[in-house]
Every structure is written in C-alpha cells, then in structure tokens.
C-alpha cells in the first residue's frame, strides 16, 4: 500500500471496493494495527494511534472488527462470545454483561440462539453473532472485512440487513465488500482501491454510474456481468 489518504467522518458509512489483492483488507487491519503499518499514520478522533506508546487495547475496544471468517470464539456459546470482552476488557459485572449480550443478540435477531455454540449455527447466524459481539462493545467505529464473502448466497441477505439497520442507526462503518447493492443503497461514500492505492472515491451514484478511471470501469463491468 502506498500513499493512501482517507478521512472517515462520524456516522459515515464508507464502502471500500476493489479487486482481490488490492490491499483492502490490509488497509483495514492497519487501522487498528492488527497489521503494523511500516509507514504512515492513523488518527482516531484526533489521536495518533500509530504512536508506539499508544494503548492499543483501549483503542481496539472502541473500534470493532467483523471478519470474513466470523472468528467467533469456538469454545463459547453465542452469549458468552459477546460477554467475554465485556467482562475482561470493559470490566463489566457478569449480570450486566449478560444483559448487554442478550440485548445485542436481540438486535441481530438471534436471542433464541444465545446458548448455541458457533459450530451449531449457520454461517449467516455466526456472522450476525459476530456483529452482535462488535455492537455490544458500544464501539465508535465498526470495520467489516468482507463480511459476506464466506457465506452461501442465500445467507448474505440476513447479514446485510443487520448491517443496514446499524447504518441507519447512525453507526460509523468502514465496509470492505463486493456487495455492490449494499454499497449503492447504504454507503455515503465509495472508495475504489487497486494495487495498494485509492484510485478514486466519491458518492456511490457517482462511482457506479460515472467512474473516471479505466480500471474502475473494468472492475465494475466485470462485477456486474456476474
């Protein structure tokens, strides 16, 4: 990645698109320093979090991340998946954490699966629990790293619905996705990445109907042909 400059405002939904290998995931992972950027700076609410002395655990508890492969804790039930960080990171009492976990599960429509283990849930359900886990932390930003790419087509809708409801609730989101419908419908801004750089960005209508770069055009044409 080189020369990436991106500002995301509070309450904004930014969708990052681009061919695989273009550095989208790496970009997201640099934002919470899950991957250490070799150069450059990341500011979160005006604070330079790339400062080596930064308490990243505190920052990460405010920037939630949702992964392509869900990454629910496999040995814990849906409810306990959500409770773990609430008690260990936020220092909440168990009863309070449980209440919050149930509320989060309710929000993603899976309260009835509170005591199921990840292995007993469908991919779509797992991802919804993972989103619940993120939301329960009360984050200021949620980053989604291709949240629907590992899902069977018929399960994608339920996850996108949850994401849409988050967006309309005012959550700040950065979403790496190939779901152009979601990008067009929900996002405030679309960023097109290719070969580690941001080639262009703009309102979804602008990018989709009138892309300026040849590579963006080719990418979109190929995507919509499928």
């Amino acid at each position: 990645m080189k020369g990436i400059n991106l500002k995301v405002y509070k309450g904004e939904v930014v969708v990052v698109i681009g061919p695989s290998g273009s550095g989208k995931s790496t970009f997201l992972r640099c934002l919470n320093r899950l991957t250490e950027p070799t150069k450059g700076d990341v500011y979160f609410e005006g604070v330079r979090i790339t400062d080596p002395k930064m308490d990243m655990n505190k920052i990460r508890s405010e920037i939630a991340m949702v992964f392509q492969s869900f990454n629910l804790f496999l040995h814990l039930t849906a409810k306990k998946n959500i409770m773990l960080a609430l008690t260990k990171v936020k220092g909440m009492e168990v009863e309070e954490a449980e209440k919050r976990a149930r509320a989060a599960l309710d929000r993603v429509g899976l309260l009835n699966k509170a005591d199921s283990f990840p292995g007993q849930l469908s991919g779509g359900q797992q991802q919804r629990v993972a989103i619940g886990r993120a939301v329960a932390m009360n984050p200021k930003l949620i980053m989604f790293d291709e949240p629907t790419s590992a899902l069977d087509p018929e399960l994608i809708g339920e996850v996108l619905d949850v994401m849409k409801s988050l967006a309309s609730g005012g959550m700040t989101m950065i979403v790496v996705t190939h779901e152009m419908g979601f990008a067009r419908e929900v996002s405030d801004r679309v960023v097109f990445m290719d070969h580690g750089i941001i080639l262009e960005e703009g309102a979804p209508a602008e990018i989709f109907t009138n892309p300026t770069h040849e590579r963006t055009k080719t990418f979109l044409r190929r995507l919509f042909k499928e």
Binding site: N57, L72, L74, H75, F117, L121, A134
Partner: protein
C-alpha cells in the same frame, strides 16, 4: 506353585504399584505445569524466552531419561544438592515429560485457527487474556489425544527410576524374581499391572475428551 509367588506377595506388589502411580501422577503434574510455560515460551515473541524454551526441549528430549535420573540423583550432590531418591525420580521423570508436553502444547496452540487470536486482540484483549480465555481453552481440548499418549509413555518410563533404588513396581518385580527366580510369572504379572494402569489412563482421558467436547466443533465421536 508359581502363582503363589503372586498371591503371597500381593502387599509388596500393591505398594510398588501405588508408588508407580504416585511417581507418575506427580511427574505428570510437574510436566504439565512446566510444559505449558515451555510451550508458550517456544512461541514467545521475546527471543531469549524462545531460546531458553527451545534449548530446554531439545536438551531433555535429546538425552536418555535414565541418564537424566542419574544426573539428578548422583550428579547433583557433587554441586551440593542432595535429593531423596523418590524426589529425584519424580523430578527427573517430570522434567523430562515437560519437554514432550511443551511440544504437544505448542502444537495445540498453533492448531487453533489464527482468526481466534485476531478476533480476541481486535476486540481489545491483551495477548495474555487472549491466550488464557480464547486460545488455551481450545488448545487444551485439541491436545487430549496426544497427551494421553504422553501420560501412558510416562507411566511406563517411570520404571526407570528403579535404577536408583525406588521401590516402585519394576524394582519390586526384580526383587521378587531374584528371590524366587520365576521371571516369567513375575514379569508377566508386572506387565499386567502396568497395563491396567495405562488402560485406565486411556479410558479416563477418553472421558475427559468427551466431557469437554465443544458441541458442533471438530469430529463428533
């Protein structure tokens, strides 16, 4: 006539078997505690810790247990550390097993999907919290079958401490054979007693495995 040797000396065998069990259980505990530390040390990001753990594993895995027993029991007194034979025996078997258990635990930790640690870290948990609450609970479940192997090997290897005069099962057998000269009867019986212990271990570990199995995770067996 030959079976009389067994029946007349049941008390002696019983004591030997109990001692074998005691040595084995203590050594398993030492091996497990130290094995977790060394296993984590093997994958530590801190180079000196990694080097010490790797050196430990290689040294104790690469030399005979019998020699390690001799070093602790006969060798340490010359640097001023005199240990009771039973303590020496337990320590030697335990320290030796720690090297093998460390490798099993390292393997277990590394077979937990990478995304688990990422998810834990990305939600704000420290490395230690992630290990303790996310990685180890899964790794410990994964390593039950190879650990069963290690425990069984340890029970059998504990027979080597007979060399420093600990009256465990094997030394009892040697003594009774010297007295009656009925090696076939005596050692077959000794073998059977060892087998009962190892078979019980295998059964118990199978139970543990089932009890801690995560619903919907891994093979349903």
């Amino acid at each position: 006539m030959a079976l009389d040797i067994i029946t007349n000396n049941l008390g002696f065998f019983w004591k030997g078997a109990l001692l074998t069990l005691e040595i084995s259980l203590c050594a398993i505990a030492i091996g497990f505690a130290l094995g977790i530390l060394m296993g984590l040390g093997r994958i530590s990001r801190i180079l000196p810790i990694r080097l010490i753990s790797t050196g430990y594993v290689e040294a104790l895995r690469g030399t005979p247990l019998l020699i390690q027993i001799f070093i602790i029991y006969f060798g340490l007194p010359s640097v001023g550390l005199v240990l009771d034979p039973l303590v020496s025996g337990i320590l030697a078997v335990g320290l030796n097993s720690a090297a093998y258990q460390a490798e099993i635990i390292r393997g277990g930790i590394q077979s937990v999907p990478k995304g688990q640690l990422e998810a834990a870290r990305s939600i704000g948990m420290t490395y230690t919290q992630s290990m303790r609450h996310v990685i180890l609970p899964q790794a410990l479940r994964l390593i039950i079958p190879p650990m069963t192997n290690e425990f069984i090997i340890l029970i059998k290897d504990s027979s080597l401490v007979s060399a420093i005069g600990i009256w465990e099962l094997t030394l009892v057998g040697k003594e009774l054979n010297a007295k009656y000269f009925e090696p076939f009867t005596v050692f077959i019986f000794i073998a059977i007693v060892y087998f009962i212990m190892t078979y019980a271990t295998s059964k118990i570990m199978r139970r543990v495995e089932k009890k801690f199995r995560i619903p919907g995770y891994g093979a349903e067996a």
